[in-house]
Amino acid sequence: MNAKERVMAVINHQKPDRMPCFGANSTVTYDQMEKVAAFWPEGHDKGEVMAKQAMAAYSVLGFDAVRVPFCQTFEAVALGCTRKPGRVRELEGVPGIEHPPPYKLDDTPVFPEDFLSRGFIPELLKAVSIVKKELGDEVAIVAGIIGPFTIAGSLLDSVPLLKATFKSPEKIRPFLDVGEKAGTALAKALIDAGADIISCEDMTASPELIAPKTYRDFELEYQKKQFDAISVPKILHICGNVDAIVEWMGQTGAEVLSLEPKASATLARGKCGPDVVLMGGVDTATTLFMKDAATVKQGCEESIADGIQILAPGCAVAPGTPTENLLAMVEVAKAH
């Protein structure tokens, strides 16, 4: 089996030759950038550079899928937020969103007709088509979108959004609606460009930020609608300990749930049933970035024992992460 066949086998509930290993979130590191001679900040806004950096996950690490993009700003910028530009290595710059945000809670957010040609989206689509052309038959292409709640957080700023979840929750619906439309439109364009899998990151929907009932009563509906409209397999990644909402994450229609090790894969299996595919692995900060290869291997084995079926970094890989720690993950996957 090649890498792509291996990934698709697991998602389609067929037996792979071994466990696949790849990221639901960004896997780019400075080491990989050096090896493929493609650097930040260009990797955040130039399609050719972005493609080169993404492909390093396959050519340098031996991961079974490659993943774009490497920050969470594409939809938000196309919806009117200002991007704080990425910077070079010494300044540790992943792009973010500038303050103040474009909207206040009483405003009506607009979904622009020309959404897909705004901001940096054309470059992201270009990156996917380059990867498709170069590696499309060998390796799975994972393309990222951002969840409705997290996009709403970019449009309103997190604190006003969080306050509204208790004070005037109905007012957040138009923002979730626009966030859903944006992610869905981007997902469809990414699939047209060659993406095999859509990975939805929804950081702000974590129980560490909002009450579980807010996820159940608001975000779940939009996430279902979005995933229903996406034709390829979906990965849903929500940061932190998601035990309190994992049952509802399993109802979204995502074929794969990506979990941090703080969340219990055993619990997720019990709550979501046998059909959902679980992906995860060691903590990207405390283990993958900080510790050595032996500790990474041990942590990966523990995740697999907990029920993980696709080995992955628990969240976005810190760009300073040593290559040998990422290679250690692949080694563990090869043994399963």
């Binding site: 969470q72 704080k84 540790e92 710059g93 992943v94 973010g96 969103i97 303050h99 997190s158 604190v159 969080l162 306050k163 979840t165 208790f166 004070k167 950081m203 702000t204 129980p207 560490e208 930020l209 909002i210 009450a211 579980p212 009932k213 807010t214 159940r216 940061c239 932190g240 309190a244 049952e247 990207t284 900060a285 405390t286 970035f289 900080m290 969240c315 976005a316 890989v317 810190a318 760009p319 300073g320």
Partner: protein
């Protein structure tokens, strides 16, 4: 046929057992103070002003601050620690408390006496930019003067705020691996400027081993530790002594 006498479970949603339920304790025997405290617990920043004005008719501003506003916030802190309250509720309560404190300070004609200054910030580039909200609320509720630099703060700004305000302690929050690398840089620049201020670092991505690698760094495991740490710093404990006490 079995006749059901107790219908209470029929309408109970099976999924609600995932969310803990709990109630706030009574905070004051005095009805006016209890009302103010309850509005802090409820996070009602619109309703609290009238209740504070009402309480100030019979109580001194300091009584209202200490026995209702701060006492209410301490109850919110308990509900948070026990997993009953979530972050949005803590933010709303903190805002309500601040509305009340501002009204009491207006009545006193001066700001309430604060124990000492603490500078707080969230690391530059962090999109989970609200980790420090609870730290601010608890420090505030425990009588510290919080110099809140907010979220997404560059290294230079933290250092210059420390030079300007001379706080007893500085805190940094980072929830992403990509942003916590600012902390050693801040610590280094503070030391170079001759400011040996205990620098409490915490948040999702941050672990003890990382923080204790650089001078001044003390790992903050929980937001609820912040007031205790600030008391130690105020008592003149060095960063080394604080690290020995709170970490390892």
């Amino acid at each position: 046929m079995k006749v059901l006498k107790d219908f209470s479970n029929i309408f109970k949603r099976y999924d609600l057992d995932l969310e803990k339920t709990g109630k706030a304790k009574e905070i004051s025997k005095d009805p006016a103070l209890q009302k103010v405290a309850q509005l802090v617990v409820d996070g009602d920043e619109e309703g609290i002003l009238a209740a504070v004005k009402d309480a100030l008719k019979s109580k001194s501003p300091l009584e209202v601050i200490n026995n209702a506003l701060i006492a209410g916030m301490n109850e919110v802190s308990r509900l948070w620690d026990e997993g009953i309250y979530f972050l949005p509720q803590v933010i709303l309560s903190s805002d309500a408390m601040n509305v009340g404190i501002a009204e009491c300070e207006a009545k006193m004609g001066k700001a309430m006496d604060r124990k000492a200054k603490v500078v707080t910030h969230t690391a530059e580039g962090d999109i989970h930019d609200i980790g420090q909200v609870i730290v601010n609320a608890l420090l505030n509720a425990n009588g510290f003067d919080v110099i809140n630099l907010g979220a997404d703060v560059p290294v230079d700004k933290v250092v210059s705020a420390c030079k300007e305000h001379r706080p007893v302690m500085v805190t940094g929050t980072a929830l992403m691996t990509t942003t916590m690398t600012a902390f050693p840089k801040i610590a280094h620049q503070l030391k170079q400027a001759g400011l040996g201020i205990p620098f409490i670092c915490g948040g999702g991505a941050v672990c003890e081993e990382y923080v204790t690698e650089y001078d001044l760094g003390i790992w903050g495991k929980e937001a609820s530790q912040a007031p205790g740490m600030a008391e130690d710093a105020l008592a003149g404990e060095s960063w080394e002594a604080m690290r020995a006490k709170w970490n390892g």
